[in-house]
């Protein structure tokens, strides 16, 4: 079977990609997708650990996380739409009224 470390490595890479996405993409939708990516990387390592430890909790947690992710997307998109209404753009760095 595949050793745990591979899976963790993979999830870590996914997580990092997510992070980089969040930090360097301008489009809020994409940023949001990157966050989803991070969450999924977490799911992956959950599954991996539960497989490795041989208890099912991990897999159950994944469902929780998925639900949360879905809910987050729902809210998130709503807010992004609202942003588009107000700023006529969804580029993250346009939202720059509040500072200092």
């Amino acid at each position: 079977m595949i050793p745990l470390s591979y899976l963790l490595m993979l999830s870590a890479i996914l997580f990092t990609i997510g992070v980089l996405g969040v930090l360097f993409k301008r489009n809020t939708i994409v940023i949001f997708m990157s966050i989803e990516l991070m969450l999924n990387s977490a799911n992956l390592s959950f599954v991996a650990f539960s497989r490795y430890l041989g208890n099912l909790n991990g897999q159950v947690y994944v469902f929780f996380v998925m639900v949360v992710a879905a809910a987050e997307v729902a809210i998130g998109l709503a807010i992004i739409v609202n942003m588009y209404k107000n700023f006529k753009s969804i580029s993250a760095d346009r939202a720059n009224l509040l500072k200092w």
Binding site: V22, L23, R26, A92, D93, A95, N96, L97, K99, W100
Partner: protein
């Protein structure tokens, strides 16, 4: 003798009554109250004297303690009075002379708007002066000491609208404070040495605890002497007295001639035991005294303001007293103090009545030939002048001569010489004054000349009384006949400790002829002075001018009083003031306060930088968070 507090109380009562209700009284009433207050004090003084005389000579020391004034740990100061011959002499002189002067002032101040205020201050002064001389411990003495200083401040600045007056007052107080600083330190030393400030205890313990010439006592006495120089206008602190003439003339007569300025001498006499234990201090005192005597006299030579001349002569006369104490002849010092009180007061009052007649004129160049118009003033003034010049049989002669005599037989020949020179000058400038003012042709401007008039009895009476006193005042202490030295004998018990310690038994081992010779000498000197004066100002009046032109440098130097005031301004007052200006600007504003405000400013500046980090770009925030997270991870894992 519980009642002695009355001596101090009566003047104080007068002070209170006039102080609170004086405004509502008529002037006569005010004057009467004031004079009576002093009179009563005088009467009490006499009564006390007789009580004292009832006692055998060597137990004539009565201490009356009234209440515990200050008490803190070891320091316990009961307030009370010490009655002994010395005190009595002072009490009588002070109350007596001031009584006369009160009468005099009653008329002299007639026109003054501040009439009430004047008598209020005057009464306060007397009560303070009496406290000073009757105190039973250093601290209470100091109360009087500063009290009289205050009154002199108030009275010098009596005409406070004149800047010169208020300046003079301030100067007097502050210079005196410098002296008081010495007095204070002296007290500290004495307290930490004896754990008491009570005169009797200190003087009893001193000989047992300390040997002659011990450092502690020397220091203490020197500090006290600094106080004396302040109060008694000796070098280096005499500068305030000439300016003090800004005050009304009776004040000058009472405070700055007869009583207050002699407080220093009294104090030295009071501490005779301590001084006897510190020969060095005595030496210093003697030297200072002699120097002052000459120095001040020299300045008096060329002054043209009547009162200023008298002021300098006062300084120089007190110089003699200090000299007397300095050579251990405390009795002589006190003797001269007494006689001086009479004739100097008289001189001032005379000057007063002259200026009274001449509508406040005091410049002797604007006088002359007054003797016809002001006979009484003239006669009395003359007697005083003779007295101060030391012409037998006037009071001044005996006292001054005794001092010089003691100086001589104490082997202080240089001091003696100075004394003689001083005597010469004294005779000269006094007669210069006398001749210019009362003889020669009148230089009074006719406007004033019309209504020159002798003062009424109220001013004349004191003049006459003092005139007589300055004639006979000296006879209570005659040379040669030791059993006739009444004053000396009376004061003996006070000073015999000092004498024992000093090992000086005066007037016995020297022969009559020496005494006689010295007397003759000083008499001759005095006469010489008079002759010179006569020669200068009556026979050929141009001489002085020519001399002045000849020695112009010396003349200006003397005329400007050696520029001492300017010197003090330059080296003491200005620098200190500038220093404080500098301190306040540099240290206070630009170091301390700047540091305080700087901290605040720094914070605000930091804030203005730090808040810039919040750029408003969400992803930048994310980045910061991420970095934070990474750091946390790294820190924790490794």
């Amino acid at each position: 003798m519980k009642y002695v507090w009355l001596i101090v109380f009566f003047p104080f009562l007068g002070f209170l009554i006039n102080g609170f209700f004086g405004r509502h009284f008529k002037r006569e009433v005010v004057a009467t109250i004031a004079a009576c207050a002093i009179g009563l004090a005088f009467v009490c003084g006499i009564y006390t004297l007789f009580d004292l005389l009832k006692l055998p000579p060597h137990s004539r020391v009565v201490e009356v303690v009234y209440f515990d004034w200050i008490k803190a740990g070891k320091l316990s100061i009961p307030a009370g009075f010490l009655i002994d011959p010395l005190t009595m002499v002072m009490v009588l002189v002070v109350s007596g002379v001031s009584f006369l002067i009160h009468i005099y002032a009653g008329e002299y101040m007639e026109e003054d708007p501040g009439y009430v205020r004047f008598f209020v201050y005057l009464n306060l002064f007397v009560s303070m002066m009496l406290t000073l001389v009757m105190a039973n411990n250093f601290l209470l003495m100091f109360v009087g000491w500063e009290g009289v200083g205050l009154c002199s401040y108030l009275l010098i600045g009596f005409w406070f609208e004149k800047d010169s007056a208020s300046n003079a007052g301030k100067k007097a107080f502050i210079v005196n404070r410098v002296g008081d600083f010495g007095f204070l330190v002296g007290m500290f030393i004495i307290f930490s040495a004896f754990h008491t400030l009570n005169f009797r205890e200190v003087f009893e313990k001193a000989p047992e605890m300390f040997t002659v010439g011990s450092t502690t006592i020397t220091l203490a006495t020197l500090c006290l002497f600094l106080g004396a120089t302040g109060k008694s206008a000796q070098i280096p602190l005499y500068v305030w007295l000439p300016d003090a003439m800004e005050g009304p003339t009776p004040v000058s007569a009472l405070i700055h001639a007869a009583t207050m300025v002699t407080a220093g001498v009294y104090m030295m006499a009071r501490c005779s035991v301590l001084y006897a234990l510190a020969p060095f201090s005595l030496g210093v005192a003697g030297t200072i005294g002699a120097l002052t005597a000459v120095f001040a006299a020299s300045m008096a030579l060329v002054q043209v303001d009547m009162k200023r001349v008298l002021a300098y002569s006062t300084i120089s006369q007190i110089g003699y007293m200090v000299l007397g104490c300095g050579v251990g002849a405390f009795a002589a010092g006190i003797f001269h103090l007494m006689t001086h009180a009479f004739f100097k007061a008289l001189l001032f009052l005379g000057a007063g009545s002259v200026s009274h007649a001449l509508a406040g004129e005091l410049d002797i160049r604007k006088m002359g030939g007054l003797y016809k118009k002001l006979p009484i003033t003239h006669i009395t003034f003359l007697s005083a002048t003779l007295a101060i010049s030391g012409i037998i049989p006037f009071a001044g002669f005996f006292s001054k001569d005794e001092i010089l005599f003691e100086t001589f037989i104490g082997h202080h020949y240089i001091l003696y010489l100075l004394g003689i020179v001083g005597a010469l000058m004294t005779a000269f400038y006094m007669f210069r004054l006398y001749f210019i003012a009362f003889h020669g042709e009148s230089r009074v401007d006719p406007e004033v000349e019309k209504h020159i008039h002798e003062p009424s009895w109220r001013m004349a009476l004191p003049l006459c009384v003092l005139g007589i006193l300055s004639l006979i005042g000296g006879w209570i202490q005659l040379p040669f006949f030791h059993n006739l030295k009444i004053l000396g004998g009376f004061l003996e018990p006070v000073f015999h400790h000092a004498h024992e310690i000093g090992g000086m038994e005066h007037g016995t081992e020297v022969g009559m002829w020496l005494e006689g010779a010295l007397m003759a000498l000083s008499l001759v000197v005095a006469l010489m002075g008079i002759c010179i004066a006569y020669n200068f100002y009556i026979k050929n009046p141009e001489l002085p001018k020519r001399l002045a032109e000849k020695f112009v440098g010396l003349y200006t130097l003397l005329f400007n009083k050696y520029y001492i005031d300017e010197l003090y301004q330059k080296i003491v007052v200005r620098p200190l003031y500038n220093l404080s200006l500098g301190l306040s600007y540099v240290v206070d504003q630009h170091i301390i306060d700047a540091a305080v405000n700087g901290t605040g400013k720094g914070m605000v500046y930091g804030s203005s930088l730090l808040r810039r980090v919040n750029t408003g770009y969400v992803q930048f925030y994310g980045l910061i968070m991420f970095i934070g997270a990474v750091v946390v991870l790294l820190v924790n894992i490794f």
